[in-house]
């Protein structure tokens, strides 16, 4: 049975015990080519340099290239070995990156070629990612708002949404945020009639004229007021982190707070804005040389802005898992 209706899996934010566990991060953002993979690679390096044990997961099903951003050859083992049961444990698919404390689980090359993985396979990967024995798992997502992408995003304790200052990117990111939120409701909601309403909301045109989470909550509250409260609470707990990349002007720098205000007004979703990264030729030059920006050392405005974002992420990681405050892996 691959029905999405069986909730075979509780996302970690649904229930989090107090035991030691891995903090999961994901970088998404709807549109392709905006720097998700670049940020993932460099964020991974920054966190590893901050004395955390980090495993990068290339979850861009069908377009994996995280290894390239890290200046690595195509790893010999990857996620498909785990899915195809050639590797018994997911840990067996981790490749050293050359940066101390930073491992990579490379994207699958074959079975995931079409990004069409089976639901049960996806669930197995999701479930297993949570068990990787490390401090932090950082996932690079593909573009788009397919359920696969969204589910990896929702697996994360902290999901980063990336945007670049272009209308198309904003549009896609907004759609991504909204879809992710609806999808999270869909995962939490166990009652069939309400699931129907959520699924309906996910359609552009729908019977109830639901266009925003506010509209959805209004409809749900009318059916069941206490549930409406619950949805409202879920809305407040849904706080993707926001990063703006490829900033070229002073005006662009104001974009982050403005996007945040607009999302709050329109969706009721309060993004947690981490900062921006300047557009910089050194970035693509580094990509061409097949090295990660942070791997080379040196200093530039871009490098320090990546570090700025990494430090913000680090604070949130430590807030979630105070044991990581000393940066002691182990």
């Amino acid at each position: 049975m691959e029905s999405e209706n069986q909730s075979a899996f509780d996302f970690p934010w649904m229930r989090r015990g107090s035991g030691r566990r891995t903090v999961v991060l994901a970088v998404g953002g709807g549109k392709g080519g905006i720097g998700k993979t670049l940020l993932t690679a460099n964020l991974g390096i920054a966190l590893a340099r901050s004395a955390l044990k980090v495993v990068l997961v290339d979850a861009d099903l069908g377009g994996s290239n995280l290894h390239t951003c890290l200046g690595m050859e195509l790893p010999e083992v990857n996620l498909s070995d785990f899915v195809g049961r050639r590797a018994e444990r997911i840990e067996d698919t981790i490749t050293e990156t050359g940066v101390e404390g930073l491992g990579l689980i490379s994207g699958a090359q074959d079975f995931l070629g079409s990004a069409n993985i089976k639901y049960t396979q996806k669930m197995r990967i999701l479930r297993t990612i949570l068990t990787i024995d490390t401090d932090v798992v950082l996932m690079d997502l593909g573009s788009g708002t397919s359920f696969n992408v969204l589910d990896f995003f929702l697996l994360a304790d902290y999901g980063l949404v990336m945007m670049v200052p272009e209308p198309t990117s904003l549009e896609n990111s907004y759609r991504f945020i909204k879809s992710a939120f609806y999808r999270s409701l869909r995962h939490r909601e166990k009652s069939e009639p309400f699931r129907k309403v959520i699924e309906e909301a996910m359609e552009q045109r729908n019977e109830h004229h639901i266009r925003t989470p506010y509209d959805l909550i209004r409809v749900v509250s009318r059916m069941d007021p206490e549930r409406g409260d619950m949805y409202r609470a879920w809305m407040l707990a849904f706080r993707p982190l926001l990063v703006i990349n490829q900033v070229r002007s002073k005006d662009d720098e104001e974009l982050g707070p403005a996007v945040r205000a607009a999302c709050r007004k329109y969706f009721g979703i309060d993004l947690d804005y981490l900062g921006h990264i300047a557009y910089d030729d050194s970035v693509w030059r580094a990509v061409r040389r097949r090295t990660a920006l942070l791997a080379e050392g040196g200093e530039s405005a871009t490098i320090s802005s990546v570090w700025g974002i990494a430090n913000q992420v680090l604070e949130r990681i430590r807030e979630l898992e105070p044991r990581l405050a000393q940066g002691a892996a182990g």
């Binding site: 989090r16 015990g17 035991g19 007021p225 609470a233 709050r264 804005y273 807030e319 979630l320």
Partner: protein
């Protein structure tokens, strides 16, 4: 948080209730920039009509709030509809404390300044560059003063830190969202019912306040004279009705939801009021008091809530958090 059609002027501009004129100016310019029709940030979100309506509301908000006379009247209106917005901070609020007739419960709310940092789940994050996050916000709890003509003594230091007056749930719970906003609706004959706030517009300064919508309250006609009296919501529980005694706190005390409830009751607070004070969703408060953690958000948020509750209820925050951690562990 509310749909912008239901937001009052302060919420629209993301201003604290007693924000200074300068803060108002900054917030207004900002809102104009962000929500102007050509803005790249909004184009993919709002329909043109919505943007037009929003812009109009922002202009109205500014027009009203920038005129001291109109603002005062508007504040009075608001406080009638939702007294909790305007009630004095816990320091001098008689309400959460025991009534004087019950001396044994005299601990009182004390000078517990609700810290801004307890407001957001990412409590210990660096100061946000922008408004504090809304979740669990007691955002600016100490800032909520009764409207008066005095300048705000402890207003947000920087304009940017003015918290949104948004309602993360608690208060809104009682309000059917599709009903007219708690901010009084317009007379039905108007073109944009429910979308426009009370007619405190400059053009009709003497217009009688519109009928209160969502909340049963004093009839609006009683308004002008009543305005200086403290809003009903902040009145202490009727004397003679003593809250239950404060539970003993010692090393055997189990810090859990039951204790939260006992202490809350001993302090004469009902759940709704606590939700209003803390801006924690009443649904969450109920679950916490029932020790039901399965419906709560990630612990990082819950910890924020607990810290905030501890502050308000005068409990040891660390013990409370440890208590809930233990609960979570026990329940797997």
């Amino acid at each position: 948080m509310k749909d912008f059609r239901e937001q009052n002027y302060y919420e629209l501009l993301e201003l604290a209730p007693h924000a200074s004129q300068q803060e108002l100016e900054v917030a207004y310019q900002r809102a104009r920039r962000i929500f102007s029709p050509g803005s790249v940030v909004t184009y993919a979100l709002f329909q043109p009509e919505e943007l037009a309506l929003l812009s109009r509301r922002i202009e109205e908000a500014y027009r009203t709030l920038s005129n001291l006379e109109h603002r005062k009247r508007y504040d009075e209106e608001l406080s009638k509809l939702d007294g909790t917005l305007w009630e004095p901070p816990p320091e001098d609020a008689p309400a959460p404390g025991p009534s004087p007739a019950c001396p044994e419960a005299a601990a009182g709310p004390g000078a517990a300044p609700a810290p801004a940092d307890a407001a957001a789940p990412h409590a210990s994050s660096p100061p946000p560059k922008e408004e504090p996050a809304a979740p669990a916000g007691v955002e600016g709890l100490p800032l909520f003063q009764r409207p008066s003509s005095q300048p705000p003594a402890d207003g947000p230091a920087q304009p940017g830190s003015a918290p949104a007056l948004s309602e993360p749930g608690g208060g809104t719970a009682a309000v059917e969202p599709s009903a007219p906003a708690r901010v009084a609706p317009e007379p039905a004959a108007q073109a944009h019912p429910a979308s426009l706030p009370p007619a405190v517009a400059p053009t009709a300064p003497e217009a009688p306040p519109p009928a209160a919508g969502a909340q049963p309250g004093p009839p609006p006609s009683a308004a002008p004279t009543q305005s200086s009296a403290p809003p009903a919501a902040s009145q202490p529980p009727p004397a003679g009705q003593c809250p239950p005694p404060m539970p003993e706190l010692d090393e055997r005390t189990v810090y859990d939801g039951r204790l939260l409830r006992q202490v809350r009751e001993a302090r004469g607070l009902d759940l709704e009021r606590l939700a209003n004070l803390t801006k924690i969703n009443i649904f969450y408060l109920r679950r916490m008091e029932e020790n039901d953690l399965s419906q709560l958000p990630a612990p990082v948020y819950v910890r924020g809530y607990l810290r905030l509750l501890a502050r308000l209820l005068k409990l040891d925050a660390d013990k409370l958090i440890a208590g809930f951690d233990a609960l979570a562990a026990a329940k797997g």
